[in-house]
């Protein structure tokens, strides 16, 4: 008899837990499907089905359907076709930069552009039209080479003892040409030249 009483008590406790769990699950299911834009009773009904003879298979199927179906919430988020603002036109392509370059500093201002592919930086007198003269004893004759192509500017050291620096970093002949399109300044020997577009 005592065993039967204990068993009934256990069943009663389990039943109470099951009831609280079912009510809680139904309430939460109601809220979840409402947030998705569906009627709340649909969620509650799905949970209630677990209490019937159908068992848990149908609610499980409904869970999968709910996960992969279209939610009214998603429809609400979409802009209406009629009266909706027209999309912006794509941006125009950037115009090509036709500006030249300028090196300023040490009392000289050297302007050049892409009309010649190679310029020579030298400390001596200009021997060719593409020679850019920086009259300073620390600048070699020639000292370095500037290369222009496709709106970019390169610098190559020719091994002068004074040295060539890009934003403070030493450039050696074995480095080859380096892109200086975006650098602020270069140094030839002791002459600091600021690079800018003109």
């Amino acid at each position: 008899m005592a065993e039967l009483t204990a068993l009934a008590g256990l069943f009663g406790l389990s039943g109470a837990f099951a009831l609280v769990g079912a009510v809680l699950a139904g309430w939460m299911a109601w809220r979840i499907v409402e947030k998705a834009g569906l009627p709340g009773w649909a969620g509650l009904g799905a949970i209630a089905l677990t209490l019937t003879g159908i068992g848990t298979v149908v609610p499980l199927v409904l869970l999968w359907v709910f996960a992969f179906m279209r939610w009214p919430r998603d429809e609400q988020g979409m802009p209406a076709t009629a009266g909706a603002p027209r999309p912006l036109a794509p941006p125009a392509k950037a115009l090509p930069d036709r500006r030249g370059w300028r090196l300023e500093g040490g009392g000289v201002s050297l302007a050049f552009d892409e009309s010649a592919p190679i310029y020579r930086l030298t400390g001596g007198p200009a021997a060719e039209p593409t020679d850019l003269v920086v009259p300073d004893p620390s600048v070699g004759k020639p000292h370095a080479r500037l290369l222009t192509a496709a709106n970019r500017l390169g610098l190559e050291d020719l091994g002068s003892p004074g040295g060539t620096y890009i934003d403070g970093a030493r450039l050696l002949p074995e480095h080859g040409p380096r892109d200086i399109s975006a650098v602020r300044s270069i140094r030839l020997g002791s002459v600091e030249l600021v690079l800018c577009r003109v």
Binding site: G21, L24, A25, W27, M28, A29, R31, I32, E34, K35, A36, G37, L60, L63, W64, F66, A67, F68, W71, P72, R73, E75, Q76, G77, M78, P79, A80, T81, G83, A84
Partner: protein
Amino acid sequence: MPDVGSWLLGWAIAAGSAVLFVIVIVHLLLSLLLIIPSWRILARAGYAGALSLFHLVPVIGSFIVMAILAFGDWPAGEARHGAPQGEGERR
């Protein structure tokens, strides 16, 4: 001759381990049936889908996932009640 009691104990432990293993595998498979749709629901709500792994927690795992969805503000937005479909963005 081996002790019968030890032999029975060993047999019982082995059998119990096998049963436990089967229970764990079945639990994982059943959890997977819940984890996959829950992962998608959580992702559509704007949460991390990995939260659906709470289903692996026995008994209360499903309640945790449901509570997150039911009582949290969905980062991806919730349905506006009373707004007709397609009217949500009109001013």
